[in-house]
Every structure is written in structure tokens, then in C-alpha cells.
Assembly symmetry: C5
Homo-oligomer: 297 residues x 5
């Protein structure tokens, strides 16, 4: 069975293949578009599948890795009773490379459905590390949101939210593609391969479940963050008030004895300084005990 | 095939056509109404479609462009076995003009379905720049929400939210129209044009996906804004408290030595000023170190 | 065709009609109940419809108009092959009166379905002014929420929310009634009148769309209000802090020179007042410049 | 027709009846369980229904009444062509008692479906006072949330929320039970009684509608409460700032004239006191006018 | 009937059984995976079920118990007309042990469906204590959120939220498994056991209901917490303002009489101290009465 591995949709070979295997112009247009959506479409002669392998990009020091998605287009069908298989994939994406390598190794020569299954299964399996990646970042995030809520925590919250929206979109697309391959009787997938596609479907559903949980947890982190900030404002207010409380007696009493009036109490006593000091310290302590009783610190 | 291009539903020609092609009174009423909803309706003789081409209006300097929607009514059918095509469209809307021009250029003379497809496809393709437009504004918004949250940021948040609600409404209508053209066996769209309508449907679904993501992101921006304000209030409170902390020793000590009492400590020492200054500066520094330790600045 | 126009379900005439046309006891009970739900029900002999015409009540000066709902019960059917039509409606509700007047004017004598359509269409058309009414109030609300957020803004937010909940309930009921008339083959509505009922359905769906948008916008107003309050608290805090900053130097320096100590710097200089004044004003300016640099005002 | 009225599922009579009428062991287990769910289940021989009559418990003075739910189990069927009816109900619940009394009074001797309808209808009708009860409490709540938001308002908000969750659960169960009786062709309910069950269904749907509206309104109250607190914090901050503004001139000016320096302006003027007083009052007024202009009080 | 009880999927015996009973490779892979999802799958020869018994882990002193989930894999089918039953379960999980013990005790020798029912029923019944466990924690949480909101309350809120997400996921899986066993005609469950599986389904639905309610209540607790913090900030602000109010007169008046000016009012009066004291105390009281009137404390 011929397997045409193209590394770009701009390869002139694609036009020859399109003519030979009657590829639909809209599918060619899709494979050449920069912004393809995951899909499975069926013509009487072949199954057209677009999938999105994951791509980790090493972050700079102190920065998180970023997650993006490559694209692979697959045409799998029969032409005059003879199977054929065409892939258009970026050879620089490790996930794509791994999927193709496994398909070459484990695929059999006359079953395009098996090749399609192997590539799709590898691509889906390679989404799992992304879940672990986000699990770690979210755990880290929760600690930071409680311990030291600063604007960078907030930026991380929204960065993860944005990336989970993207990941979820890819997973929903992949789930629908797997469902389509299961349900539509006309696709390349025969009864023998149905349980395998169903297995892929189960994996994607589990991944989606995890992503939903992670979205919940990120939203929790935001709530934690906001509660922490509210809490800290509260703490700061209390410190300010305690400070005011400590300052009040000394300012009031020193103000009183600073007045240019005759006849202030104790003024002429030889122990005037000691008496005034005792008065000041005593009233300060009294106020502090009052605050303490009302659980302020 | 006759193609009647009217520029207004008030054109008296419409009445003649209505009589000739048995246009339904409710459809005429629709095409004359100021506030039409996107729809596809089928009578035994023709397909009636209302679509909404997008319209960018240049904003004043320093102001964002605004996005609004024009209207185009299409009657496409067969009368006694002869195809006919009627469009009622505002010729001042560039998107409408582009759609009609492409239909004139690429349409074939005896297939109203092809004309309908060409117009609808152009209208949908011209929604994509709106997505880019909002992407830019939302990116800008996120930066402003973190960097300098002021009330104008808030107004921009709610302006975008309002416009995305409108855009989403148009897209949902267009999606349902495309679905209707795909599903309903009685419409003008024949088997040959089905994949093209399906392609339009796919594009609209992708657009809706993007709009949903953008709505999420705008809501994120609002959360960022509110968190930033909470954070800043917190910062202001801290500055106020640090200020209070710095002021406390100098006010308390100068108050004490301002009292008209005899016998204050160090009062008669020749180094009294130096001692009191050291006391003041020392206690201020002690308080500042305390705050520093608790991570206040 | 007899059309019995009753102005109250307590009219003794209703009992005669009930006997003559076999009206179901539960429908009689409904029409006599104070708190009817919008519905369409079918018996083999007639269609029973309950609708809710809108009623504007002029508000006092400075107060908003209030929106409430009247009730109209319709029995439309055939008795021994002869059509009959019964309405029970409050003649004091302008919307009801308009609907009945139009039915009398445009209705034909032997089609109860046409009468039902005319009444329902008028009632639905008269919901549109309510949407405009709320549009105006919401626009006004947004301006107030940004410009001068006070508790009365809040009360208006919740008043509109409450009224939109009611309006939505009526619209959902009307939509379901229209759907029922479209779908259920046994109702009085024949094939000729189906497109008209479908037109009503479209209008109600558009109204519901608008109400949903308005609910979104009211929630936006609440967010605007809360953000504005948070913002203002922030502003107040800044003013307080700037005030503290301005006060600090003059209080500290006047405190220092108020001490009863000998040997304060510049004390004996002939320019002591000028020097101290320069010191005070200088340090105040320095602090203000610092705050200015950090964008505080 | 025999009607067995048991007051407890522990009655030994139940075992005899179970044997005689072949009651399913799982239904017996249900009727003995402390925490039954509302349901309708069908065996070839009988219909088993569990319903939850409402129970008001008088609150202590100054406290709200509490709403709870009793349980009634009904077995209604035909045994060898002979109808039978078994109820297990707590005779101390007024709603249960009323339902049974009405069934005894209005029921006919050979129709278990009529008995079932009468009991279910009474139970559902007695839910309406609960809606009124919550309407009153929510109105009161809104007033308190705006007028004097204190923690007890908050506790009332959450108490009502919790009770509405319970009520909603009971209503959803009852709605599903009514639906089951309508849809399932095998139940005891024959064509004659279908419209009556449908009437019950309509009532429950209306009740659920009201509960949803009330949940919305309680959430509104929470929003009102939080906005009121935010507003009041804002007010307090303003008072504090106005206070600081009033204090500043007198403190600064009295500090300046308290300095032990020679040559302060106006110091030796005979009108020094008047001049200084004028200065102080003047600058205080200037600041207050400034705040007034910016709408602070 | 042979029942193979394996304690680990790594048991080499599993390979023999897989060969003998034609177990599907994907099911073997599932049973060996560390992160299985609850499911029921059907092959022509057997039903494969994965369930998750609950596991309580005693918390340290002062710490809450934690809830986790074990796994049990069940293969129940007929091989050449002869029933067989295989379980793979961790013998260290008490819930698993209880389920297996009950199955051994009450199971009959030739009905794998009964064994499956007994195990599943026990596992579901043992979820109920988890609900009670969370009920207690949530009650405790609400008290703490109102009484003494501190960050540990917040951490408990999010811990419970996270655990309820997990529990809900397990329950949804179990509900779907029960539904599958009810609906799919090919499973091991025959008509006799259908009511029992339906009973399990009812229990799971009731559990899910409770979990949903608990999630609502936890969210309520978070709202209570945030409202309490807002409330307390408000209280602290008021104390600060009252403090400022008390301080103002004494500071202003003592400042005035501290000025080195001649001719201050009452200065030379013999009762100057008494007069000034009366002035200070009087104006302080006046301010306090003003605050009291406006309900500040």
C-alpha cells in the first residue's frame, strides 16, 4: 500500500495525488490553511482527518514551558479497491514524529484504518503529559495564592486559564472526531478497529474530565487569591488601627502637658514625670488589652 | 437566469416581482422591517434567506472602530421550471458589495444555489477580520487591566462585551441558517452544493468558537481589573501604614519633650538634642525593620 | 360564527357555554383562577389558550412606569361541525382591547384560527415596546453606575432584574404556546394559518433574545457598579494617604522645635524661622514628587 | 375496595399485605427507609408512589417558621381483577391528614387512580403556602439588605438558600413522578384521569418556576448585601478622610506656633490670636469646599 | 461456577484466564493501568466492569480524614454456556473486602449477575458515609466562616471543594455504569436482576443529588467567608474612625494652648484648666453622639 508522507501542504506532489485520488478541493484548501480545525470528513472514496499533536516549547529560565499545537492531515482511503494513505505533517514536531514512527513500526501494509488508529492513539497519549504539566503548575499556584499573593500569581492564573481553554478546544475536537469515526458507517474504520477507536474516545473523555477539573481548580485559585488579598487588606487595617491606638495616649497626654496653662494636675509634683509616664503607659496598655480581648491580634 | 438586484425593499419593483414569483406576504414584510433576524425559510417555490454582512465604521482618532451589521435579503427559486434570483441589499456596505461582486464574477448563469453559496461564503469570510479586531482590543485590554486599571478600562471591557454579544447573535443565526440549508431537503441547495454549505457551516462554528473564547477572555480581563484594584487598595493601605509607622516615634518623642514638666530624662544633659535625635531615629528604624521582616515592602 | 366576548370568568353565561360546548372542568377552573399560566391545550372539540397581554402603568413623577400582565382566555373550536369562539378578557387592559378590536376588524366570520392568530399576533407585537422601555432604563443605568454609583442605582438594578425575570417567564410561556400550536396536529390551526403562527413564534424568539441580552447588560451594570465603588474606595484611600503625606513634615518638624530642649540646630540663628519653613516645605515637596512619580495623582 | 391505612411501615400488617398483594421487597425496603426519595414505580400488579407532604413547624418568637417534609407511601393496584389501595403515612402531619381526609370524602369506591389523584393534588396544593412564606421572607430580606446589612441578614440569606434547595428537590421529584404517571402506559392512571394528573404536573411546574425565581431573588439579596457593605466601607473611609482634612490645619498651625523659635509671623502682633484663628478656620473651610466640590459629602 | 479472585492485575494467572475466556486486550490493559475510569463494557462473551470502592484514611490528630478510591475490575460472563466470574481487587481496601464478603455470603453459585449486583450494591451503599462525613465538615465550616474567618477556613473550603469534585466524578461514572447495565440488552444482567440494578441507580442518583447540594453549600460557605471578611474590614474601619474622632478634640485643643502666643481665650482665668478640659471632653462627647446617631457603634 502506498503511504505518501508529505512535510508540507505546499509540496507540489500534493497536486498530483489530489488528481490521482480525487481529493476534494475543500479538503486541499483546509490542509493549506494556517488555522485548521480538528475534523473527520468522509467522501465516498476516502476519510479525511485533521489532528493536532501537542508541542512543548522549553521556557526560558524561571519561565514556564509553553504548550502549543502542530497539525497533521491524513487522507486514508481506497482507490479502485486499492488502499492508499497520505499524511501531511510538520516533521519538526516531536509528537508528530513519534506518531509516524510508531505507525511505520506497528502498522500493517494493507490496512489504512490501522495506520490511522496508531497515529491518533499516539497523538492522544501524548496529551497526558500536558495534564501533568498543568497539575504541577496549579498545585504551585494554589500555594502561591495562599502564601504570597502578588500580581504575578494573577498573571499565572490567567495564563493557565487561557491555555486550558485552548487545550480543551483541541480535546473537544478530537473527541468529536473519534465519535465520528465510531458512528459514521462509511469511514475507513472497519468493525475490527472499532473497539480501538472507542478506546481512544475513552481516553479523550478522561482527558476532558481532567481539564474540566483543572479549570475548576484554577477558578478556585482565583477565589483563593482574591480572598487572600481581602484578608491582607483586613490585616493591614488592623495594624494601622493598633498603631493609632498605641499613638493616641502619648499624643493626647503630651499635648495636654504641652499647653501653656497654669494649674495642670500633678504639674508641680516632684514626681510629675513619673506620674505622667505611668498615666501614658497605663492607658496604652488598657487600650491594647481591650483590642486583645476582641481578638484583634 | 434573471437576477434582480434591488437596493431597497421600498423599490416598487419588489411588488411586481412579488406578484410574478408568488413571494409570501410575511417575507415581504420581513424584508421591509428595520430589525430583521437572520433566517432561511422555504416555500414550495423558493428559498428565502436573510443574512447580515459586517460593517466596520472608522472610529474617531483615539477611538476604536465600531462594528455593525447591514442586511441582505435573498429570494432564490424556480418559477415554472425557470430559476430566478432576487437580492435586496444596501449598496453602501462594502461587505455586501464584495459578496455581490464575487457572485457576479464566479456565479454561473443557471444555478441560483451557487449564487447563494458565493454570497453567503463571502459574508462569512468577512466576519474573520472582526475576530482579529477583537483579539487586538482584548490583548490591549489585558495589558491595561494589569498595568493601569482606570475607569476607561472598565468602559472598554463592557463595550467589548456588548459588541461580542451582538456578534455572537449574528453568528448563531448564520450557523442555524447554514444548518437549515444543509438539513432541509426542500431548499434550493442541491447535492452538488451541499459540501460547500457544510464548509460555510464549519467556518461559522469556528468563528463561534473564537467568540466564545473571546468572551471568556473579556471576563478574565474584568477579573484582572477587579483584582488589580483590590491589590492597589492593599498597596495604598500599606503605604499609609508605613507612613503612620514612620511618623509615630517623632510625634511621640517630640510631644514628650514639648511638655512643660521639669525632670524629663536627659533634659539637662548637654547632649540632650543628640540623645533625643538618636532615640527617635533608632525607634523609627526598629519599626521599619519589623515591617520589613513581615514582608510589607 | 358565534363569538362570545365575556369580560369575566364569573359571568354566569360561562356556565351555559360550558355545558353547550362541553368545556373541560379543569379549563373552567383555570380561567377562574387568579394566577393562570400561559398555555395551549387541546381537547377533541376545541383549543384552549391562555395568553398574557402586557399592561403599562404610568409611574408617579420621577418614578419609572411599571409593567404588569393581564390575562385573556380563548376557547376556539367546532361543535357539531359549527365553529365557535369564546374570549374571557379584562376590557380595561389597552393591549387586550387592541387585540380584540383588530380581530373584530380583520377576522373572517368562519375561521376561528384566524381570530386566534390575530389576537395572539397583536399581543406579541405589543411586547416590543416593553423591550424599548427596558433598553432606555438600562442605558440610563449604565451611565449612572459609572458616573455616580449610589444605593438608588443598586435598587434600580434589582428592580429591572426582577421585572425581566417576569417578562422572560411570560415570553417563554408564549413561545411554548406558539410551538404547541405549530406542532400539535389536533389544534384549531390549519395548514393555511401555520406560516402565521410560525411568524409569531419567530417574533417571540427575537423578543426572548433581546431579553437575554438585557439580562446580560443588567448584570454588566451590577459589575460596573461594584467596580466603580471599589475604584472610589481606592481613590478615597489615596486622598487620605496624600493628606497624611502632606501633614507628616509639618507635624514632625513643628514637634521637634516645640521641644523644651536647648541646642536644637538653627535655633539661635536669626533666620531660624525661614530655615525651618524651608525645611518643612522642602520635605513636603519631596514626598509629593515621590508620590507623583509612582502615579498616585 | 379495601383501603389499608397504615401509620407506620413497621406495622406488622404490612408484612401480611406484602404477601397477599406480592409487594416487591425493594419497595418494602424503601417504605421502611428513613430517607426515601420521591418516586413512582410500576410493577405488573400495582403502582408504588412515594410523596412528600409539607410540614410547617412554628418557630420560636422572633424566629422564622421552618419547613420540613413528611413522607407518604402509596401502593395502588389490582389483585386478581380486584382493586386495592394501601397508604403508609404519618398521621401527625397536617398536610398528610388533609390529603387523606379529602380522598376519603371525594374518592369513589372502585377507582384507586382517583384516590391517588386526590392525595397527590392536595399535597401539591399545600406547597403553594410555602412559596408565599418564602416570598414574604425574601421581601423582608431585601429591605434588610439595603437598609441595615448585618451578619444576621447574611445568615437569613443562607438559611433561605438552603431551604429552597430542599424545596426544589422535592418539587423536581414530584414533577418527575407526575410525568411518569402521565407517560408510562402501565400505571394505575387510566385515560379518564390523565387530564387530572396533567393538571397536577402543570401546578408543580408553576411551583418550580416560582422557586427558581425565588432563588434568583435570594442571590440578588446577597449581591445587594455585599454592595451595601462595600458602599458603607466607602462611606466610612470618606468620613475618616473628612476628619483628617478638618484636623490637618489646626494641628499644623498650632504645631508651628508651638515651636520655641523667635520671629514667627504675626507673633508679636496684638491680634496674633485672631489672625492665627482666622488662618486656621480659613484653611479648614477651603479644604472642606474642595471636598464638597468633588462630591464627597 | 468458578470465581477467580485476583489481588492484582500483575498476577500471572490473569494471562491464563485471558486466554481461556478470550478477554479483550484493551480490557487487560485497562485493568493494569494505574488510572482507570469507571465503566461497563460488553463483549459477546462477557461484561467488563470497573468500579471504585471508597477508602477512608484516618487523618492525623486535628486533621480531617481523607477520602480516596480503590479500584475493582470485574469480568462476568458465559464461556461455552458455562458462567464464570473474575475479580481483580486490592484486598487492603475495607470497602472492597466488605463487598466481596457479602457476595461470597449471599451470592448463588450459578448467577454471575447476582454476584455483580451484590458487589456493586455494597460499594454504592458505602458511599453514603462519605456524604455524612462531608455534611459534618460543611456544617462545621459554615460556623467557622461566620464566627472566625481565617485563612485555614479558606483552605478547608477549597479542600472540600476538591474532594467533592472527585467524589462527584466517581458517582457520575457509577451512575452511567448502572444505566448501561439497565439499558444495554446484551449485558450479563437478566430481567430478574433489572429491578435491583435500577435500585442501585436510584441510590447513586440520590447520592449525586446530595453531592450537588453540598457543592452549593460549600460555595455558600465561601460567600459567607468573603462577606464576613468584608464585614470585618468595615468594622475595623469604623473603630479606626471612632478612634480618630476621639483623638481630634484633645489634639486640636492641646495644640492651640501649646502655641506660644499671648491672649488665648481663658488663658489667664484661674479656672483655665477646668474650662479647657470641659471644652475638650464636651466636643469629644458631641462627636461621639453624632456617630452614635448614625448607627456607627
Amino acid at each position: 500500500m502506498p503511504w505518501y508522507e508529505l512535510s508540507s501542504a505546499d509540496d507540489s506532489k500534493l497536486n498530483e495525488l489530489a488528481e490521482k485520488y480525487h481529493l476534494h478541493p475543500l479538503h486541499l484548501e483546509d490542509s493549506r490553511s494556517a488555522d485548521e480545525r480538528i475534523k473527520v470528513e468522509q467522501t465516498p472514496e476516502y476519510t479525511f482527518a485533521v489532528l493536532k499533536p501537542i508541542k512543548f516549547t522549553q521556557g526560558e529560565t524561571g519561565k514556564q514551558d509553553t504548550v502549543s499545537f502542530s497539525t497533521i492531515d491524513i487522507f486514508a482511503g481506497n482507490h479502485d479497491g486499492e488502499p492508499f494513505f497520505i499524511t501531511i505533517a510538520d516533521p519538526n514536531c516531536p509528537a508528530t514524529e513519534e506518531a509516524l514512527a510508531r505507525a511505520r513500526r506497528e502498522g500493517s501494509d494493507d490496512k489504512p484504518a490501522r495506520l490511522l488508529y496508531l497515529i491518533m492513539d499516539t497523538i492522544v497519549d501524548l496529551y497526558f503529559p500536558a495534564i501533568d504539566h498543568y497539575d504541577e503548575r496549579i498545585d504551585d499556584l494554589e500555594d502561591r495564592a495562599i502564601g504570597r499573593p502578588d500580581p504575578s500569581t494573577l498573571q499565572e492564573v490567567f495564563a493557565i486559564k487561557r491555555q486550558l481553554i485552548d487545550l480543551r478546544r483541541v480535546l473537544v475536537g478530537t473527541r468529536d472526531a473519534a465519535l465520528h469515526l465510531q458512528r459514521d458507517p462509511g469511514t475507513i474504520v472497519d468493525a475490527e478497529h472499532q473497539p480501538f477507536i472507542r478506546d481512544i474516545y475513552d481516553h479523550v473523555v478522561r482527558l476532558l474530565d481532567s481539564v474540566e477539573t483543572q479549570r475548576d481548580l484554577v477558578n478556585n485559585s482565583l477565589d483563593i487569591y482574591l480572598s487572600s488579598v481581602a484578608n491582607r487588606t483586613n490585616e493591614v487595617m488592623k495594624v494601622l488601627t493598633v498603631l493609632g491606638t498605641i499613638a493616641l495616649p502619648v499624643i493626647a497626654i503630651s499635648g495636654i502637658y504641652g499647653m501653656n496653662l497654669k494649674g495642670l494636675p500633678f504639674e508641680d509634683s516632684p514626681h510629675s514625670v513619673a506620674i505622667v509616664a505611668a498615666l501614658t503607659i497605663g492607658s496604652t496598655l488598657a487600650l491594647l488589652i481591650l483590642l486583645k480581648r476582641r481578638n484583634w491580634f
